[in-house]
Each structure stands twice: as C-alpha cells, then as structure tokens.
Subunit: 243 residues, 2 copies
DNA sequence: TAAATAGTGTCTCTTAGACAGTATGAG
DNA sequence: CTCATACTGTCTAAGAGACACTATTTA
C-alpha cells in the first residue's frame, strides 16, 4: 500500500509529529498477570537506553493499511500470536514524551493465552521478557511515558473484568470453569464465590461445551470454548461483593 | 513550545502520517441530542469540498503541549466554551481515510451545556452549525470517516449514560432533577421512572443542593450543582427496565 | 378549586451473595 | 475407604421497577 496523491492538493506543510503504535500485551505467566516488554538499545544516542518499554514503533505507511493492522503486525513480530484479542486503549501525544520531538502513539491492548515463555529474555528476539504487572506498577521505571500507559491499560483491564467475559481470552481452549474462575481471581486480586460465578458465566451464554477435560487429578471438569471469539460478553452487573 | 532536539539522534526518517485532532461536541439543542459540524471549503482541490465534518485539524506542534490541549483549543475556537467535559474517544488512522495520504486523527468527545445557537450558520465562524444526531446517523454523509467516528461517539455516550452521571454535563448549573431526568430521556431515547431516577441520583451523592429554582410555572424544584466537575460518577447498575 | 409539576411511599419480584451440601473422580 | 476437586441447592436480604400517592405552587 502506497500513499497516493490523488486529485487533491497536498495538506498544508505543518511540521508533523512522529507517529507510533505501541501494544500492551497481557498474559497469565507463572500464575500472575504479566505484560511483555522489550529493552531499549544501549546506544547512548537512543532515547532511554537500556530501559524497558512497551513493544511498538513507527507506523510504516507502506506496510500498514491502518492502525489496527499496524498493532497486529507488531504483536505478531514479538509473540508469533496471530489473532488474539486486540482492542484500542487510547492515544498519548505531546511535546515532552520523547526527547526527539513532538510524538503521538496509538496504544492497543492485547490478551493472549498463558505463555510459557519464562521471565527471562525471550526466544523470538533478544531483550524481550514478561514482567509481573504488580511489580511494574509498584516501581514504575519504563521508557517514555510507558509506565503511565501501562497503568491505564491495567485499569481498563481490571475494570472490564468486573463486568465482561474478557478473561476467557487469556486461556487456551478448551478451558474449564474452575480455570476461568482462577483467571478472574488472578486479575482481580481477590477471590470470587464459586456458585455465583458459575451461574453467571453459564447464564451469559457465551460458552459452548467441548467435552470433559482430564484434569491433572481428581474429578474431571467440563471443558468449554467461546461461542464467539470476536469480543467479550457484557454482564448486566458488576462482581462487587455485598457492602 | 518548540521541538527541541536534545542529546539524542533524530528518529529514523520514516515518512510521517498527517496528525490531526477532531472533536465530537455534543449538546442538547431544541430538545434533541445534537453535534457541532463545520462545512469543508468549496475549493475543488480540498478533500470533500462542501461536505460537513467534525471540527478539528492538524496538530500544531508549537501551540499544543499535548493532544488534550489541542482538543481543548479547537473546542474553544469553535464554541467559546472553556472547561467542558472532555474525554478521549479513540483514534482512527490509515491510508484510505484522507485522499492526501496516510493520516491519523485523535478524537475527543465533549459535552457542553444546552446551546442556544440555532440550527443555522453559527456566530463565531461561518459554516458552523448544530445537527441532530439521529438525522446524521440515519443518513451518514460526513467528510472523511467522520460518520463512522460520530457513530462510535454516540454509542459511547449512550452506553455511558446508562450507568454514569454524564448527562449532568449537558446542563447549566443549577439544574433540577426533573431537568436532569429529561436529559437522560432525550439521550437514551426512552422514558425513565421518576421515583427510581431520583433515588438513584441522590444515592450516588454527586449533587449538592443549591437552593430552590423558580421554575417556569407551578411548584419550584430544588436546584443542584455537581459536587465534582472533573468527571462523572459511575452507578453500580444499569438503567435497563425489567425484562 | 383546578391544573400542573415536584416529590414520596410502598409493594413485589429478581437476583447476587453466602455457604452448606452432594457428585465423581484418583489413589 | 479418604481426599480432592467439580458442581448444585437453598436461604436471605438488598434494591430496582412499577405505580399510586401526597405536596406545593400558579392561575
């Protein structure tokens, strides 16, 4: 895809900000909500050398048809995952966030199934690793304004988990209701009543049975798949326990 | 504010997309949910000549400290309103949305109190007018991808109105509960039970009494102001009537 | 007193939450 | 058998929705 200058005069010759796309990639690793980061090059002339940052980079106007495609490309490059849950989080732009000048980044957030990539340098690229979200939030030290962005992403995720089926996208299919409940509890950071949880999930009608799954031990549980992988289901209420 | 090239090498010399900011400005005009549009110049070489579009334009890297400031500036220019409710809606970018080339727009949405600007050309600038949202959605004919963006903005607004105090930002203070209820009903397009509505609003604890307001006729009603104008309050449940 | 709008009381029914119970597998 | 985990039943209390009622003004 190339930029075509059709029968229109060019846009006024304003100085243009840098345009980038960043992706906040969540997974459950080692039983913790985790996010994928890449390490900035150590070269002194690069901004934030050696610091960790969200995966992302400049929009390529020849490769990327639109912003979502650009985000999907970057996600594929870092994780190999092809069709995860991917939604737009927002955009951050200003004069101060990048020492090279005025820049704006379009941020997406992705959920991918539990990844066994250990919490060390990754396999696909050097200097890629999973980090536990809670540790990053406690000691924010990411490049650019990425700590702020990460915080917004976690807030959005935790808030949506209260009333949607989003956590299902963090599991490989088929999964069991106890597994799903565990993911909810991990993300929310609190326990949830089993009976109410099951009623709620089944009433929302977004799961289809997929035969019994041989658990690691004891009684096998029913396995489920998502009826529709295009997006989460919204529950009429929140999970909040009684006041 | 100018772009400073500090002790960092410049960013790689990728072609940069155009960067714009657009604002979806809602108000209640003539008892209808309405949005402010500006007419594109008639000049043949301009994209979408003569069509109506959302107010917005290129980011000015010298004037605008960040995206939000840019949106606030554009809103002030068109309406004179200074500190409305302003939240980010999202961003749209791609090769196809502007004939002049790859572009990305950061979209904000604003709520301003009922405006008496008639549904004709405005006072501040030529070619500015309020349009009823429902008519625009029924016959989408805006420039660029602005019909798509408007639809997303209306969906976001209607969805948030179900469980937040957002409509209060569409009223001038002090306002009465019946007035507020009327705004909810206008935006939602359905009626709401008076008793439940009052209980809910008062329980949410975001209103402070401001003395009785002389109504246009009959019994005067209590006037209220917002306890906190920085953002809406979130209700624990939705407005949905019983199934 | 009538009309109009502001504001309250009350009943019912749904349902979330809590928790105790039963079912079904492994060893 | 026991133990562990999957799954179900039941009680209770909060609160939303529906609607009828009272209150306070103008004309």
């Amino acid at each position: 895809m190339t930029v075509t200058q059709r029968h229109s005069k060019p846009a006024p010759d304003f100085p243009r900000p840098y345009t980038t796309v960043d992706v906040v990639i969540f997974t459950i690793a080692q039983g913790q909500l985790s996010v994928l980061l890449v390490q900035r090059p150590e070269h002194e002339d690069d901004p934030f050398p050696g610091l960790w940052a969200l995966p992302g980079g400049f929009v390529n106007v020849d490769l990327d048809a639109d912003l979502q495609a650009c985000a999907a490309r970057k996600l594929k490059e870092k994780t190999g995952v092809d069709s995860p849950y991917l939604e737009q989080l927002g955009s951050w732009g200003g004069a101060a966030r990048d020492p090279r000048g005025w820049s704006a980044t379009h941020v997406y957030f992705a959920l991918i199934p539990a990844h066994d990539l250990p919490l060390t340098k990754g396999a696909n690229a050097a200097d890629v690793a999973w980090f536990e979200v809670d540790e990053l939030l406690a000691r924010p030290a990411l490049a650019f304004d990425h700590s702020t962005i990460l915080q917004a992403a976690v807030e959005r995720l935790r808030s949506k988990v209260e009333y949607t089926s989003l956590p299902a996208f963090l599991l490989t299919e088929p999964f069991t209701l106890p597994q799903l409940q565990q993911v909810y509890e991990t993300v929310l950071g609190r326990s949830v009543d089993k009976s109410g949880f099951r009623t709620r999930m089944l009433a929302a009608n977004f799961l289809v049975e997929a035969g019994h799954v041989e658990g690691t031990s004891n009684r096998p549980a029913m396995g489920y798949r998502l009826a529709d992988r295009s997006g989460p289901v919204v529950f009429p209420r929140t999970f909040s326990p009684r006041g």
